[in-house]
Amino acid sequence: MFEKKKDEILHDHNHDGVDRRGFLKCMAWAGTGALCVMQGGVLKSYAMSRIAEMNLADLGGELSFAQISDSHMGFNKAANTDVAGTLKVAIDKINALPVAPEFLLHTGDISHLSKPEEFDAVAQILQSAKAKDVFYVPGEHDVLNDDGKQYLERYGKGSKGNGWYSFDKKGVHIVGLVNVMNLKAGGLGTLGSEQLEWLADDLKALKSSTPIVVFAHIPLWSVYPEWGWGTEDSAQALGYLKKFGSVTVLNGHIHQTMQKVEGNVTFHTACSTAFPQPAPGTAPSPGPMKVPAEQLRSVLGITDVNFVRGQHALAVVDSSLA
C-alpha cells in the first residue's frame, strides 16, 4: 500500500511545486514515523529509521518544534492509571528526536480536573524536557470551576482575553487560540467575536509568504460534530488565513491523529499522552478507550514539526510512545 519508491512529485496541477496526492500519501506514512520534507519543490519522504543516519541540517530544516497534547494529569481510571508515567515517556521521546525541538506546544487538557496539584505535576515533569520554552492553550478540562482564572494565572502571561496570543520563531508566525470557553448547550468549540477580531488584526500586516502555525485545543475543522469535535466559528478564522501560502493547524482534544489538507492549509490533530479515544462513530461515546496494557503506549504519541525555509508546507510527523 505504501510505495516507498514513488516519493517524488508526480503531478504539479497548481504549478506551485506541491503534489497534493503525493503530500497526502506522505502524510499517511507519518503515522508510521516518516519525515516528509519539501526541498526544491520536491516532496520527499524519509523513514524515521533512516533519519538517525542522516544529518537533517543537510535537508535544510530551520525550525523544529514538538507538540504534545491532552496529558490529563489527574486521570486515574482503567484506560491509564499512570498518566504521569506516560507523559514522562513522551518527554523522553521528544528529548531523543534526531533534530532537537526549539520549543514545545501543548494543545490543552493539561490537567484532568483543573486542580492545582495536577498543573504542578505537569510543570515538574516538563522540567526534564531539553526544550525549555513551552507554549500552551487550554483544553476544557483546564478551565473547570473558575472560568479559566487559574489557567490564566499560570499560563496567560502576555495573552489577551481568555488566553490567546501569537509569537514568531525564525520567520514562522505562531498563533495560540482558545476555543473551549463559553461553550453553549448542544454546541461545538467556539472562538468568539473578540478573539476573531484580534486574529484578523494580528494577521493583517503579515506577508502572504509568512508560514503560519495555528494551535488550539478543539479541532478547527469539522472532524465529527456529533461528538462536539469541531469549532462553530472556525470558518471565519480560516478566512483570515486564506491569503497565506503555508498554514499548519495543530489541534488536540480527540486523542488520535487525524489530518486533512485543504488548499494551503494542513490540519493535524495529535495523540494524547494519557489515553486514546475511539475513532468517530465507532463507539457509543467519545470516552477513554481501554486497550490491552501492552498496547497502551502504541496509541499514545507526540508530534514533531519541521519547517524547511523557503518551502511550502511544514513537515508534521507523529510518532507513538512505543
Partner: protein
C-alpha cells in the same frame, strides 16, 4: 385520721385520672393531625438522573414542584450539570460524585454539560 387519708387518696386518684386523660388526649391529637407522609399532595419527592457514556439518563424527566433531582456521574470522565437559563450550576463532578437541585417552580429547565456541550437534558416541572 381516716378522713385525711381518704382526701389524700382522692387527690391522688384525681391526679392520676387527670394525667391519664391528658395522655390520652395527646395520643388522640397525634393520631388526628394529618401526617406529611400520608398526605395526598406530593411530598418531598426525589428523582435520579444517571450521567454515563456522555449522556444524561433519562434525557427528559417530568417531576412535581418540590422534587429534588439528584444527578450521579457514573462515567469515567468528569461532567457538569448547568442550566441554560442560569437557574442551577454544579461544580465539576468526577466519577461517583453527585449534584442535587430542588425544583420549587413550575417550568421547563434545559441543561447541559458545560465541559461537553453536546450533552443536553431537560427537567419539566409541573
Amino acid at each position: 385520721m381516716r378522713r385525711r387519708v381518704s382526701v389524700v387518696v382522692a387527690v391522688a386518684v384525681l391526679t392520676v385520672a387527670g394525667w391519664s386523660a391528658g395522655e390520652r388526649s395527646v395520643v388522640a391529637e397525634a393520631q388526628g393531625t394529618p401526617n406529611a407522609s400520608v398526605a395526598p399532595s406530593p411530598a418531598p419527592a426525589t428523582m435520579e438522573v444517571k450521567i454515563d457514556n456522555f449522556s444524561f439518563g433519562p434525557t427528559t424527566i417530568t417531576v412535581a414542584v418540590g422534587t429534588t433531582v439528584t444527578w450521579t456521574n457514573r462515567d469515567d470522565i468528569p461532567h457538569t450539570v448547568v442550566s441554560t437559563a442560569g437557574v442551577f450550576k454544579s461544580k465539576v463532578l468526577d466519577t461517583d460524585e453527585k449534584f442535587s437541585f430542588t425544583f420549587s417552580k413550575v417550568g421547563t429547565f434545559a441543561y447541559f454539560c458545560s465541559v461537553h456541550p453536546k450533552m443536553t437534558g431537560t427537567v419539566v416541572v409541573q
